[in-house]
Symmetry: C2
Subunit: 376 residues, 2 copies
Amino acid sequence: MNAITPASAERLVRVPLGERAYDILIGPGLIARAGKEIAARLKGRRAAIITDEHVAPLYLDELLASLQGAGIQSSKLVLPAGEKTKSFEHLMAVCDAVLTARVERNDAVIALGGGVIGDLSGFAAGIVRRGVRFVQVPTSLLSQVDSSVGGKTGINTHHGKNLIGVFHQPDLVLADTDVLNSLSEREFRAGYAEVAKYGLIDKPDFFAWLEANWKEVFSGGAARIEAIAASCQAKSDVVVADERENGPRALLNLGHTFGHALEAATAYDSRRLVHGEGVSIGMVLAHEFSSRLNLASPHDAKRVETHLKAVGLPTRMGDIPGELPPAEVLMDAIAQDKKVKSGKLTFILTRGIGQSFAADDVPASEVLSFLREKHP
Amino acid sequence: MNAITPASAERLVRVPLGERAYDILIGPGLIARAGKEIAARLKGRRAAIITDEHVAPLYLDELLASLQGAGIQSSKLVLPAGEKTKSFEHLMAVCDAVLTARVERNDAVIALGGGVIGDLSGFAAGIVRRGVRFVQVPTSLLSQVDSSVGGKTGINTHHGKNLIGVFHQPDLVLADTDVLNSLSEREFRAGYAEVAKYGLIDKPDFFAWLEANWKEVFSGGAARIEAIAASCQAKSDVVVADERENGPRALLNLGHTFGHALEAATAYDSRRLVHGEGVSIGMVLAHEFSSRLNLASPHDAKRVETHLKAVGLPTRMGDIPGELPPAEVLMDAIAQDKKVKSGKLTFILTRGIGQSFAADDVPASEVLSFLREKHP
């Protein structure tokens, strides 16, 4: 019994949040087993599946069949794919679908899709009847290692991204690793940026392991499952320490301040830049900026860049196709994203690989001159 | 110093919900002191006031001046009065106003109004930035003794009332008893039905005190403050025992199952029936139904009816002006409101004054024949 079978390759990460504790299952074939796993954990026997037009043709029938096989009566709502779906209008549509499906408190909303579907459906699950059960079936690497865990949900408004939402933990996360085979290389890489992030935050050994094993993570199999499980465990640790983001959870934003500014500067045009790519460039910038502030060695920034470049991720602002606005405009986007108090910013900086920390006194002027240097 | 001065007449009820604990202040002149009381408790110095067109001309300027005097920068949004305002569209408008006012996590949304404004504003406060601070300044007796305490927020949809919302506790409730002088007699009476409810749930001594002192409660002064404080304390006790309504909090629905059905049957037309009036009739029906099931003495039902009639509240379905639909239609409304499991309903019944309990096995057929008898 020493051979690695699919069953033995499966991993379970338990998120120990008291009465809101839940399991994350990671491995192949989980969509086919979804009905059984949900029925074992939830009292209700109704579900409203929310998905998008890209994911539905690939996995919806399999999920529906699995639920039916477990005696769970389910409805489906197929939404347009893309970030624009995280809107008040679509939130209304999801709430209406969930109520029409007569989902009660012990029944479930099931998000079948990436981060957009997860954030939107989780928000609806958090507010219909002041909270019904919620199951995440993340279908992108990014959502498997990041957004499906931790309970942050939300939508965008013209004031900004994710400004309206609730904390609503899922009751179960089913990260079916088979679905990752249908991702484009670019999508997989973008998710990988968040995997690498967990190493850079506070797990230098994991980062070193990724440097050594990334090719196997990309090609699938046990190393991939291991990398996803380690990422979910890392996210779980941070969430358990700070469920409602009053403190340490901020470390998850490593690379995200620069990354968000670049996403805004490219008008969230996924042809030019997707979230994980922004995070990749942002993490390199965060390490370089920390080095410029004499907090970290320039060698560490180089090491981060070398690894991210090796897997094929962009690491420089110049890697983004098309023109970028000047440094001052990027700085404005950063100032809008963060609160600027008396010219000081809160920023995730680092003292080296796996030694990140939150600094709340970074002079905006330092950030601006750094950006000018990087993007003259 | 034995004379009752306004300051000594003021009452404080603390709702001990751990890190979500908060104060309810009850007494005269609290709107004028709002800025000071808020500044003493909240870190932020921004506020978005949400109110309605009926309340704004009476109290908005006084509240704005009080906030300004305490160094709190505030914006205002004046909405249409009435239940229709508890909609997705108005929720969007409130969220937009709160974001436009640049209210951050430690700043406040302030609800100045009755239950509609409180429920809507509290929902917005619960979802903007995944939760900002929230202050209730209830201006009706109903909202002072019921909806402003306990953290239930929400809006209505075509599927039903309050089906979408969150639990979001206020950080402070300021029940200014001076504002009650501007209520119509009918509005005050409707709120009084919920005051009497607390006695009927589990405080027979309080109900007896109301029977003896209701005229003073209606005429104002110390007895009124006492009755409101006792009601807030009773609500607080139930909320602390069951913040998210998994058990004992259901007792607060005494009289509400029949009451909601009557509200639905009159199409929520406040000219015919307002919420508190429906609860008044509903409480009498709940006691009579309990008597019919041989749980309580018919004498108790009579005592409840006598008191509610004495204060001028309707106590019979026949007291509602206009035609009511037949018993079968009322029964449908009850079945829609509650979950019917195998012909059984969950219902708040009673063994006598102040001895209510939740029964989860009430045969729907018994309810229907009772309704037919009461409304042939």
